[in-house]
Structures are given as C-alpha cells and as structure tokens.
Symmetry: C2
Subunit: 607 residues, 2 copies
C-alpha cells in the first residue's frame, strides 16, 4: 500500500518536511495549508520539488466551515474554494479535505449540507478535483463518520466522497460495534484514510486531538482493527498519518519521519499488507559495552564488584570483564568522549542474528558495518533510536560467528561470582523520541513494552518504561528526563543480578567500592511499612540497600557511585524460583530516594 | 494570616526547598513525606533548620489508606501511624494530614471510618498530635468535603478535624451553592486549609491534580470565594499552598517560592486580610530601552523608521530616539551583551510612581536602585520576573522627577512622525515562569490579562498572553517558547503604532530599511478569504504587510529584519476612532507565517 504523511506532523520549513518524508520512504504527503502559506516556494516549485523527491501530494488540507450555511455565506465559501482549486491545479493535487463545520453559522440540516457539498464537488470536478468530507469529532452538527457518510451518500456526486480519520472515529468509539458502519461505505467512496493513535486520556477531545496524537502503535487505539474494516471495503488509497503533537513539533523532522514510517510498516504487517522478516526475539544479554577515555576508574569499579578482566580484543583497545553470565566490554577507543564512561552498545543473544538484523533494516534501523575492523568476526548490528548500538550475537554457537573469537584470553583467574548476570539495562532516551523508543524495541526486537511510570526526580518528573522478553532474560528500562535539556543529565546504568545482595554489597565495599548512601529517614519509613527480622534493616541501612515488594516477591537493590554517565546497581529478586518470575518491577517506588541521593552525592563530591 | 507552602510545590533538595520558602517570607511548610525520606538530614536537623529559618512545620503529609478497612489491616495502619507520630515528635510537627482512602480494601462504611479515625486520633493525642482528615476528589468512598466532615463529626474526637483543599473542593464544584456546606463546619474543627488553583481543563481529575495545579490567581478557580467561606467559620490556621505541577518541579525553587508567596498576598488582599498599597495602573509607555554593544545597526534601523536621536544622557552612553510619542533609549553601557540588542527596560507612565513601586515591593518585586548614577534624577523601578526593568515614570510632570532631566537635547530636527507611539511590546518569558509573569503584571501593575493563545512556530508550539490597561495605551505581549531551551531563541519586539502602515513601510524601505519578506502564498490565501480594493493586495505583497480582521476592525502590520534579539513591527489598527477601541488582537492568526518567515530570513542571512 502507498504511505503518506501530513506535513503538519513534522517540524521545520516545508522544504525540511518534504525532504524528511521522502528520505523516510513515504510515497506522498498531505499538504497542510499553513505550511504552504508560510513557504517561500511557489506552488509550482513545491510541485517540482515533490516530483524530484518521488512524493505525490495526496491531499490538500483542510477546507473548513464550508457546508450547511446560509446561501450568501456559501457563495463566499465557493469563491474561496475556487481560489483553492486553482492553487491545487498549480500544485498538481487532486483531492481536498473538507472538515465538518464548527461554525456557529452552520445549521443542523443534512439536506442543505448535502446540497451544498454537491455544489462544491461540482465546482471541484471542473478542476479535476475530488472532495473528501470528514466528520470532526467536535463538529458542530456532524461529528461521526456514519453521519458524514449519509450526507455524502445523499449528495450523490461522483466528485464527493468521505475521508475517514482514526482519531475522530476511535476517540468517540466505545466498542468494536462502532466500526461496523464502515462496511456500509463503498470502498471507492472512501477518498482518503487518515491515521493517528493517541494515549487513552479522559480529556476534552479537541485538546486531546491537538496536542496528544501519536503514531499508530504508540497510543491506546486499535488502529489495525479500523484499517482492516476500511480495507475490507476495497479502499485502495494511501495509509496516511496526520498527527498533531507538541513533542513532534519540536523534534527534528528526519527522525520523526522515520519513526512515523516505521509505525506504518508495523501497521501494514499487522493487517497483512506488508511482508517483513519475522521478529527474532532476543534470548539474553551477551554483553554491555562501555566506552571511556580512561579505563582506570571503571577497572577499579568492576574489580571491586568482583569482575575479572578475562580477555582483550585482538585488534582494538577493548577489554572483556566477566562474572557469572555478566560480560562487560570496556572500550577506550576513539568513540570515547571526554565526559567519562557511557553505555554505548548492547550485545543481545539471538536465535538468528542475521534474521534479526534483516527485520531491523526492513524497519528502517540504521545497519552498522558487519565488521568493525578487517580481521573481526562478522557481527549483525543496528543502531537504536537513542544511538545505542545493538549487536545480535550467537555466543558459543559453533555454526555462527562468535564475537568472542575476536578476544584473546588474559589467563586471569575466574571471578568470584557474587553476580549471576545482567538483570537489566537502563538507557536514557532523547526527550523527543521516548514513544519512538518503545515502538522500536517492541516492533523491531519483538520485546514487550510495560506500562510507563512517572518518577519524581528532585528537579523534574521523569518517565520510565521497560521493554522485556517473556522470561525476563532481556530487560531494558527506557528513561526520559523532565525536559529536552535533560538528555545528558541522567545517567545510564547496568543492573547486575545477584542471589545475595547483602553479601555482594559487602564484598564490593570491602574491596574498596563506594556504595550510594541512602538517608536514614528512608529506613525509618521501611520500618513503619514492613516487618523485618532482627538486624535486617540495620544491614540495609549500613549498605544503602533499598527494599520493595510486590505480589510476586521482594526486591532488594543498591547502587554504586556514578562514574562519568554510568553507574551499577546490584539487584536481588526474590520469588523467582517459584515459577512466577518473582518481583516484576524495577524498584520505581524507591527511585525518588535514589535520584535524590545521587543529586546529594554529586553536590558533595562532584561524582 | 500565616502563610505556608508544601515542600512538594518546590524543586530541589529539602534544604533548597526550606531555604526558598523562608527567603520568600513564608511562615511555615507542609513537610511532604517523600521529601523527608529523600533527605540526608535527620528529623532533629530538619527541626533545627526550620527553627533557624523561622519556619514552622505546619503539617506532615500525607498518611494514606488508613480508614474503613478490616481490623487486621487497621492494626497495621496504627502500627505505621505510631512510627509516623514518633517521627513527628522529633520534627516538632503537630498536625498530620490523612487523605480519604483510595485502597480497594476500603469499605463504604462511614461508621467504621469514623470509629477507626477516632482511634487514630486517640493514638495521635498521646503524642500531642492532631489528625486532619481530607476528602480526595478521587477518594474511593469519600470524595467530598461535606462527606469527610460528617465522618469527622460522627467520630467526635477532639484530636480529629478536617482539612479543606481548594482543588479537591472546586474540581468537583459546579456552583457557589457547593461551598455553602462549609458554614456548617465549626472553624476550630477545620485543622488545615490547602490552596491550589488549576486551569479549567476537562480531564481526568487525578491527572489534572497531579500535573496541572497552579498558584491561586493563575488558574480558573475562584479561590477567594472559597477562602471567604472558610474564614467565616472562624478558621485561623495558615493559608497553605499545595501545588503539584510538572513545570514547577523543574523550575528553580527560589523564584517559584516568590511567585507562590505573591499569589497568597494577592489572595489575602482579595479577601480583605492584607493591607497592600493600592495598584497604580500605568497610563502609557514612556520609553522602551534597548541595550546593545554596538549602536550602529540600531541607529540605522531607527533612522530608517523615521526616528531622530533627540537627546543623549548626561552621564552615560544612552541615546534617546523619538518619533511621535514613541521614545526608545539605546544603551551601549556595561549591561550590553555580545549577542546584540535586547529589550532591557520599559518606562511606564504612572499617576503615582512612588506608589506603584511601593506596591511592587510589597508584592516581592526586586526594587532597583533609585538612581542609576549619583547625578541622575531619582526613578522608581523594579524588576519583572523575566528580568526586564520596569521604570515608573512621570514624564513632563513638574511636581515629580522626570527621567528626561538626565538627558541633554542634541538639537537635531524633529522626526517625520509616521509613527504615533508604541502600540505594544513583546517580551519573551522564561519557560518555567509564564504563569508567574501574567500574575505579576496583573497583580503588581494592575493590568488585565487576556486569554492565552497557542502559536505554531515551525519548531514548536509557543504560547502568548497579553496584559493591557483599559484604554490599550499599555499593551505587553508575554510570549513563551515551546521548550525550556527556547528562552533565548525567540526575539523580543517593539510594535510601533502608525495611522498609515503602507506609507510608513514604504518610507522605511526607501530609507534603506529591510522589511521581512512574506511568502506570496500568504497573499493568495488573503485573496481567497477577503475582498480588497484594486491594487491593495499587491501593495501588501510588495511590502510584506500582513492583514487580519476582527469584529472591531482591521489590522495591518509588517516587520523589520531582526537585529540581535530585537525587531520592530509597524502596526495599523483600524476602527479605533469609532469608540470601541478598534481591532483588539495582535495578529496571532498571522504569527505562524511571520515566525516561518523569520526562520527563513535567519537561514538565508544569519540575521
């Protein structure tokens, strides 16, 4: 199917919007009138530029407050329409969107609406133009798609059809039955299909629509169900995105367009209209890679945590540190930045690394060179929206290239194994692309996205959303700061799984490691909320161990001091052996205390 | 009356919050439990610090999900409460807030709720503590203040009273009658009064409360009416602010606390409980002052606009440019920043400059030195929240100091007078303090705040709100960018009033001035929307004149290129002589086109 995007969904000048849409692979655009008005390009320039970019102008939009008005008013509207039809001829656009009227002058008279829309369509036909009439959810007299269709049907003009919009339909729909009326519309009378998702908010529908729309799969609507109904009518026009969103208005057009197109590809897959390589769900974390200009502070930290430097890369300044199944690469190569260690790459165990990469590529993830250096083992890798490199690995599988082949053993003794493996990874997301990140991990990697939670930092409200595989062996917490400026403020972290967080924390401290101190007040509150064995709480207080509990088990966790942009967490999930997977969360209830403690530590030591 | 603020209303560490509250002049705080838990200070430290700062801990908050639960659960709640009462003894806090339960375990049984709350109060009394029971608007069984009061009355325990919260009451109130039940509560049983305003949004009340509360006078609730009802009962506790707001969470605590306290002072004035100096509404704009490191580009611009440099300051590098009643100071003194001209000060004509300054000072505006230099005429001046200096002037009034006395005439010939005066000034506001700015101009200066409007910039949605005096001789448009990072992106501007914008624009251009080019597409759209005389539209197109119309008249305006952070607008308001004041707006409908044109100009020329 052809895909299209409304220029209002992207930021920047019209030129920037068109370029971004074309680069992301869209076939066409809906040209939003204000974008045209604000552009220094003539209609002929715009037409030529679209042609050069391989974009059709699928829709000119919107014409407002046209129908069901007194005759004198309608005559003025026809005059206005004639101007717009002339403009559309210059643009080479053949379909115009007319929204149901919100004007106080409009009367509740379907026959008049039909009669005037037919006259408008008659004028349009002189220009070879089709009119697509759409019910706004807040239209004055016409606010449902079936009502709009009845008027179109009554008008009975070949140049008049309807436009269906998922937001206007689903924001008013209360069940699947509300979509059944679509079957009554002949496919050739559906002139256009606009798609937008939205989070399920109980709020004024106009505000909801203007500020909170998002791309399909990022909100709470069942867009696929709607599209299936529309396709069943025989509709063969484009799937077109029309999203008004305060965040996208600020974001760079290029990444937004890619995000948008990826959402349409996934939607097409969901309705059986796109053949994408199947998802290959990762089965574990092979490694986490930190890049740093100076390996010393990380070496001290990893050593105190009980890791051993087991191997080094044969051709590059990369060391492999291991403990249990936890593997951490420390890279002091040219990608290192002056602001200290950061989490730059994740190795994901994959049943089919090449297949995983093919799906990622089909879903517009940038593919990274298969070999980082000429002699390296070939590795399938892509970049996530936040820039993190994702390597699809097959550790220890003789039939496939193994990333470990590039490493030579150091011969150092094995680690002490307080740590079993990596419990989860926490990645800071660029502010404007939080919803994109969740859709990427879900759609591209086949992970499940959990509910988004708000977390109070002393300097703003953060949001966090985890993506996981079914058995919890891959857990990634995606976190976003309170404001666009926070991209670099909040650290990323690696949470290490242990069966005895007390022992692990103690040995870390005995080895010279510094744990994040937690205020005594926190423990007084724990004592009020839970009952503990004698001395247990004193131990937690001493080590800075935080405690939480859900229906599945208990959670104990503590934190190292931050180095550069990275810190480590030690995590003990209880109840996991009982078969229900144990505690499910990430200690969100404790996050405000942890974040405040990190601010305190930073203020005291600058570290 | 005593004033208090909940620590959750301010950002930062507990120490920062307490400092900010004390510096703004609050008498006490509500200590939010999470702020205590996250603080490294012991309860005794906090008590001592509050005492040092002159702050009482008026309330410890909140205790949740206490009442109307099975006995075993209630026993656990009492255990938890005992811990908290011990903590409160260490803090020296004597009132605790208990919110109506939202727990699924709570049963709908007022008698049980009353009985358990009485037992809780009995325990509290042992510690000298009072329990204030409050109905959350989303409480499971108790969600209205009169319901909460009936339970308190039934319980009949002297240590149990009620807490009234303006948000919880007014978010559910549909008319003044809903407040009449307050009279039934004896004042001494109202243990606490929490105040928050909110914009009138149709949305889920829990989300509304958690993210959109604001300070009294910044939203849509009639807080004063509520407070009058409460005071009529004999309530003599503090007026306390409890505001959850995503923006305040990010903003610096100091300015937020000042904003908060100012809102309470104005509220006290509204209910007759504060004697503030009367507002002195400004009657005109005496001057606008631009500071710049390099006077040349501005001199060229002002010269082309028809201004004459009529005077220079006797002691400082400040020139006075005049035309009609428009006066612009160009200051090349030390306050100039390298990024070019900015609008740094406004002179407001005042019937009583000293009185205006006294009110501003009473409302916590920083007072500026009366004389900038030893020989200068004394001037009353304060700083607005955005840092703009506001001078209260009495131009040409023999009985009062005149700012012009500091200037010596240049003897240059008078200006040509295309320009009548200053139509309005547009000031960019710091992102976190947009609501504060409107309240400041309303409360301190006595201006009227107009509706806030959204304006689409190509790179994000801006908001703009005008404050004006009754006859429109003072009009200030307060504008805020789409994100915290936008503080410095958007330019400020001075709009100059003319009776013939075409002539003024033409002469400006003939004198070498550069007008902002407006896309031809905009004029094609104007032709579709309005009818113009022959040639009129061509003239507008040629000069970049934009057009709008409202019920009161027409509006024609055009823009100069931007210099540094400043540009000028030429404005012609028609219909003004008819007595209704003419066109009322600021051309918001044209703002997206203007903003896009400015981006285009910047991209082309860097200017």
């Amino acid at each position: 199917m052809r895909t299209s995007i409304a220029t209002v969904s992207l930021s920047g000048s019209l030129t920037e919007k068109l370029d971004a849409a074309a680069r992301a692979g869209f076939d066409g655009v809906e040209l939003f009138e204000n974008d045209l008005l604000a552009s220094p390009l003539t209609p002929e320039d715009i037409r030529a530029r679209c042609a050069d970019l391989g974009l059709r102008i699928d829709l000119y939009q919107p014409m407002r407050d046209v129908e069901a008005v007194p005759e004198a008013e309608f005559a003025r509207n026809l005059r206005r329409a004639r101007h717009k039809f002339e403009l559309m001829r210059r643009l080479g656009a053949d379909t115009v969107l007319v929204c149901s009227s919100v004007s106080p002058q409009a009367v509740d008279d379907d026959a008049l609406a039909a009669e005037q829309l037919a006259r408008l369509a008659g004028l349009a036909a002189e220009y070879g133009i089709r009119v697509a009439y759409e019910a706004l959810a807040w239209g004055r007299h016409v606010s449902t798609y079936d009502h709009a269709w009845r008027i179109v049907e009554t008008a009975g003009h070949p140049a008049l059809g309807t436009c269906l919009d998922s937001f206007h339909i689903l924001s008013r729909a209360f069940g699947p039955a509300d979509l059944e009326g679509i079957a009554a519309i002949p496919g050739e009378k559906i002139f256009f299909l606009q798609l937008a998702d939205a989070p399920l908010l109980a709020m004024d529908v106009l505000q909801w629509s203007r500020h909170y729309r998002c791309f399909p799969g990022q909100g709470g609507f069942d867009i696929a169900a709607l599209v299936r109904h529309v396709l069943a009518t025989g509709y063969d026009g484009p799937l077109s995105l029309e999203v008004f969103n305060d965040v996208f208005r600020q974001a760079e057009a290029g990444p937004t367009a890619v995000d948008a197109r990826r959402s349409l590809l996934l939607l097409q897959e969901a309705v059986g209209k796109a053949i994408l390589p199947d998802p290959v769900v990762p089965t574990g974390v092979a490694f986490a890679e930190l890049v740093t200009p100076d390996a010393e502070p990380l070496a001290d930290l990893l050593g105190a945590l009980g890791f051993t430097r087991t191997a080094r890369h044969r051709g590059k300044p990369v060391a492999l540190w291991e403990q249990g199944d936890a593997r951490i690469l420390v890279n002091t190569g040219p990608a290192a930045r002056r602001d200290g260690p950061r989490l730059a790459a994740i190795g994901l165990e994959s049943p089919d690394p090449a297949g995983a990469a093919r799906r990622a590529e089909a879903l517009l993830a940038p593919v990274l060179p298969r070999r980082r250096a000429p002699r390296d083992a070939p590795l399938d890798a892509v970049a996530a929206p936040d820039g993190t490199e994702l390597f699809f690995c097959a550790t220890g599988r003789p039939d496939l290239p193994d990333w470990r082949a590039d490493f030579a053993d150091t011969g150092l003794p094995p680690a002490r194994a307080d740590i079993r493996g990596i419990d989860h990874l926490a990645l800071t997301q660029p502010w404007h692309h939080f919803d994109e990140a969740a859709l990427f991990h879900r759609g591209v990697l086949g992970l499940d996205a959990q509910e988004s939670v708000d977390v109070a930092d002393p300097y703003g409200l953060m949001r966090s959303r985890a993506v996981t595989n079914a058995d919890g062996s891959v857990r990634i917490a995606l976190t976003v700061g309170a404001a666009p400026t926070d991209d670099t403020v909040h650290a990323q972290h690696i949470a290490l799984a242990t069966d005895d967080v007390v022992a692990a924390a103690r040995r870390f401290r005995d080895a010279g490691g510094r744990l994040l101190p937690v205020p005594a007040n926190y423990y007084d509150d724990l004592a009020a909320r839970f009952e503990f064995a004698d001395g247990e709480l004193e131990t937690y207080r001493d080590l800075g161990i935080l405690y939480d509990r859900d229906a599945h088990g208990a959670f104990r966790h503590c934190y190292t001091r931050t180095v550069g942009r990275v810190f480590f967490e030690l995590v003990q999930r209880d109840g996991g052996d009982g078969g229900d997977g144990g505690y499910r969360g990430y200690g969100a209830a404790n996050a405000p205390v942890r974040l405040a403690a990190q601010h305190t530590a930073r203020a005291l030591t600058g570290g």
